[in-house]
């Protein structure tokens, strides 16, 4: 069957027709992923930095836990947060379930361990003289840590890219917490799942190609930032 060629043609047509529905889906994917990676960076970078620099009791255990969290299935995160955000749950009165904010929260939970882990790895592999140099020039711990982060910016960027890759490609959290609502919480991945369940395989696959293209553009953009 011409299934693959069909979907490729559909994909090209989809991209160049600037279909409103597709645009909205791409946009939803992009902004929920961007917001969640922003929050994940806000939590994950300092946390990874702290774990990488400080030596304290229970640090190894914490690193092990962090590694375990990296393997967290998206549907489990979705399920747990569903319990929190549902009207019956502790945060129910906020009415966040099936809004982009619930998705952002879930994706932040997914991406934070990844960002923290990559930053931790970057710090662990970094030159021990960086902090000492900052100290001997008169820096406080915080100033030295900030300097370390600047020196490790490629590693930090890699952390952000890895986290972004995970959230833009995941479907479990987006589906469970977002509800795949057309025009509001329908992301590229949940749209693919929907089109597949409708039997529109070609359309689903072409959305997959669009997703690939969008991810490529985002990575090119981040790459550009990195080279500045």
């Amino acid at each position: 069957m011409g299934y693959l060629t069909d979907s490729f043609i559909t994909a090209v047509r989809l991209i160049f027709s600037f279909d409103r529905e597709v645009q909205l889906t791409v946009w939803t994917s992009l902004y929920t992923s961007s917001c969640s990676i922003l929050f994940a960076a806000l939590f994950g970078i300092p946390f990874g930095l702290w774990l990488g620099i400080d030596r304290f009791r229970g640090r190894r255990l914490m690193i092990t836990l962090l590694n375990t969290l990296m393997a967290l299935p998206t549907v489990v995160v979705g399920l747990v947060l569903f319990g929190f955000f549902s009207r019956q749950g502790p945060l129910g009165s906020l009415g966040l379930l099936f809004t982009p904010w619930a998705m952002i929260a879930g994706q932040t939970v997914l991406a934070t361990p990844i960002v923290a882990n990559y930053v931790l790895a970057a710090v662990s592999g970094s030159d021990a003289r960086i902090m000492d140099t900052a100290f001997t020039l008169g820096a406080t711990r915080l100033q030295a840590a900030v300097q370390l982060l600047k020196e490790l910016r490629y590693g930090v960027m890699a952390a952000v890219i890895a986290g972004f890759g995970r959230v833009i490609a995941e479907v479990g959290v987006a589906m469970m917490l977002g509800g795949n609502i057309r025009g509001t919480t329908r992301t590229m991945t949940t749209a693919i799942a929907l089109e597949t369940s409708k039997g529109e395989f070609a359309f689903g696959l072409s959305l997959g190609l669009v997703l690939l293209g969008v991810a490529l553009c985002v990575n090119l953009f981040l790459n550009l930032l990195q080279q500045r």
């Binding site: 902004y31 961007s34 379930l97 099936f98 597949t196 395989f201 930032l225």
Partner: protein, 264 residues
Amino acid sequence: MFRPYLIVLLLLLLLAMPAFATEHLRLATTTSTENSGLLAELLPPFEKVNDCKVDVIAVGTGKAIKLGETGDVDVILVHARSKEDKFVSAGFGVGRRDVMYNDFIILGTVADPAGIKGETDAAAAMGEIAAVKATFVSRGDDSGTNTREKQLWKATGITPAGDWYLEAGRGMGEVIIMAGERQGYTLSDRATYLAFKQKTPLRIVVEGDKNLFNPYGVIMVNPAKHPHVKVALAQKFIDFLTSAEGKRLITNYHRSGEQLFYVK
């Protein structure tokens, strides 16, 4: 280094805000209404008149009712009469109204190993399938279709089990595809089957039994239990579905030249 990046993201955040401005009505419904394309036809006129947005969460009937119980939606549009009645009598929902109906059908391959083609008694046909242990793919997801399937098994007095009985745990479309690939039988609603007709070798083997009648009902989540339910908008929506215009839109909706839903 990170500053321009942050600014871009904050901008994204701000741009995302207007999406939450208009009033939203949360509708949990079955996949069949969404996947058949009916809602895409039905909702825009309602949204336009009432200046609102209907957020459709398309899940199985079981899950949709659950979302109503927990108050995570305002209205449910489902098709499992026994469950709907339980939902209302337990005080979770109010004012159930009939909206439309279509029918279930039993699908099978042309080879028809159970020899049930043309059978008019659905339960008897299911009994035949079990007797020859022909492959049967069940939704297995507590959906409206799954509920009906269980009722039919109950009528035959058989508890389906064994390697011929596959519980997929997936949506109707996937199950039709799966049954086609496994050369088995399955119970489907007519609307989904029509949408998948071109993609599956399965044909209708049993139809027309009154036990295959498939009515859809709309129920408002009880505001006494969940005060945040948007009563006024939900009522308008229910009135719209059962109005002359709603009925006209439902009746006029065709796919591949066939009418998918009927109103009384």
